[in-house]
């Protein structure tokens, strides 16, 4: 670009071209400042609306990392994270994709009253692990309410209402 602009014989014209491109580019800058996913808002919303007996289900489990970062830094009183299997911590190193089958659901239901389901936003998610799929696993069995934070939709699942 710079070398092309230098081919313009009239220096003022060259400067005008450079200015035009800089101004044109500037329209794309605000998008850079916007967050891709707002975990601060998600955790804040959960903490402000949580009750005793609440658990947080991060699905798929690798999204636990940004959640943990925000909890550790800003909200240490956040509800505990739901474990997928008995005695097994949800670690990002375990790359198996857990299926939300009936067994898993009933295990979760025994331990918690309400579950905050936080899932990958549709846009950036792996096709198999989107919010829609996460919600679909619970939908036939429990009442679900949708909550909207700044960017992400999260779901509150009342697992104490009707067991699977």
């Amino acid at each position: 670009m710079a070398m092309l602009f230098r081919q313009v014989a009239w220096p003022v014209g060259s400067l005008l071209l450079v200015s035009a491109v800089v101004v044109g580019q500037s329209f794309g800058i605000p998008a850079v400042y916007r967050p891709r996913s707002d975990w601060n808002a998600i955790v804040k919303h959960i903490v402000e609306n949580s009750q005793e007996g609440d658990g947080v289900l991060i699905w798929p489990n690798y999204h636990l990392v940004p959640y943990t970062y925000v909890v550790k830094r800003h909200y240490q009183n956040a509800p505990s994270v739901v474990t997928y299997k008995k005695g097994e911590k949800v670690l990002m190193w375990n790359d198996r994709w857990y299926r939300m089958d009936e067994k898993t659901l009933s295990r979760i239901a025994r331990k918690y009253n309400r579950i905050w389901l936080v899932s990958a936003p549709e846009k950036n998610a792996h096709p198999g692990h989107t919010l829609k799929k996460g919600v679909r696993a619970f939908q036939p069995h429990y009442p679900i309410t949708q909550h909207r934070t700044t960017i992400t939709k999260i779901h509150l699942i009342n697992v104490s209402k009707s067991p699977p």
Partner: protein, 323 residues
């Protein structure tokens, strides 16, 4: 053809300072407030403990190892806040601007260097790299400075410059795998110089770089390519999308500049190459190869061998566009 602008050292220095300040000012907004997204959170997770980082490098994620290591020490000094983590990238991004100016000045003239630095500083893709707690800004910084040292080495022909070039290139690959594509860019540039000594020394550097990269080659071989399974095969639409991103959202400008550059190159090759001489042609080869080769090679690799394409991985190629 080099036109206009009288040489004025103070004006150049002031211009460069202004560009640096502009780059810094545009890089900073919202970095303390914006929530870390998934990949940035992984940077934090990997870098917060050195023993854990070593475990990660040995067993899971070799790419960006050098960035994670620097981030670890950076976080020990400045903490783990969003601001602290992202400021490392801001630092590397802003420090890249004088090097872009230097390259522009070296291959063409001073105003070219200033214009290229200005266009880079105000480019949204550059700002994206500088705002992310990932290795893109570091890789861009190292790739640009490797180019600076290569140009110096070709001029002075001293052994330590060729070694420094090899070290910087290897480090850039440790910062992000995609930086290896700069070797193709540099190779084409050195070849067009047609000086046998330079070509020999460049091949010697390639051998040295391979030697420096043996640890990550071995680690990656041990780990396998499983963590790269999420990539999707790119299409031509992805190239258009990348062009738009590189041009700061101005696809028309990207297309026009590509056409004009191609026309200039064709004119130089067909009609005027002999009259203008090799240095002029080579001046166009460097930015041309810098923008075309990384995109082309990674696209073809992703289509025919294994998908590894992501629009986010090309900030190191941005100077090719702005130059």
């Amino acid at each position: 053809m080099r036109i206009g602008f009288k040489k004025n050292k103070w004006a150049t220095l002031l211009g460069l300072l202004a560009v640096g300040i502009l780059g810094a000012v545009l890089s900073v907004p919202n970095i303390h407030h914006k929530s870390l997204w998934l990949d940035e959170a992984f940077s934090w997770e990997f870098s917060k403990d050195i023993a854990f980082l070593w475990h990660v490098i040995r067993s899971r994620e070799v790419n960006m190892a050098f960035y994670y290591l620097l981030l670890h020490f950076w976080m020990r000094l400045f903490g783990e806040s969003e601001l602290a983590m992202r400021s490392l990238s801001v630092l590397f991004a802003v420090c890249t601007l004088p090097s872009i100016y230097w390259i522009g000045r070296r291959i063409w003239d001073e105003p070219t260097g200033l214009i290229a630095a200005l266009l880079t500083a105000a480019n949204p893709y550059f700002l994206f790299a500088s705002q992310e707690a990932r290795g893109f800004a570091l890789a861009m910084f190292l790739a640009v400075n490797a180019t600076v040292v290569l140009l110096m080495a070709q001029q002075d022909n001293r052994a330590f410059l060729w070694i420094a070039y090899s070290v910087l290139t290897a480090l850039s690959v440790y910062a992000h795998y995609y930086s290896i594509l700069m070797l193709a860019v540099h190779g084409v540039y050195v070849m067009t110089g047609a000086k046998l000594t330079h070509i020999r020394l460049f091949f010697f550097s390639c051998v040295l770089i391979t030697f420096f990269l043996l640890p990550i080659i071995w680690l990656q071989y041990r780990i396998g390519l499983g963590q790269a399974d999420w990539f999707i095969k790119p299409t031509l639409r992805d190239i258009v999308s990348l062009s738009r991103v590189l041009a700061g959202g101005m696809l028309g400008v990207a297309a026009a500049s590509a056409c004009l550059s191609a026309a200039v190159m064709a004119a130089l090759i067909i009609n005027r190459g002999k009259r203008l001489g090799r240095p002029t042609f080579r001046a166009w080869v460097l930015p041309g190869a810098w923008i075309v080769l990384p995109v082309l090679v990674s696209f073809l690799f992703s289509v025919y061998i294994k998908p590894v394409w992501s629009t986010r991985y090309f900030p190191f190629a941005l100077p090719g566009y702005t130059l």
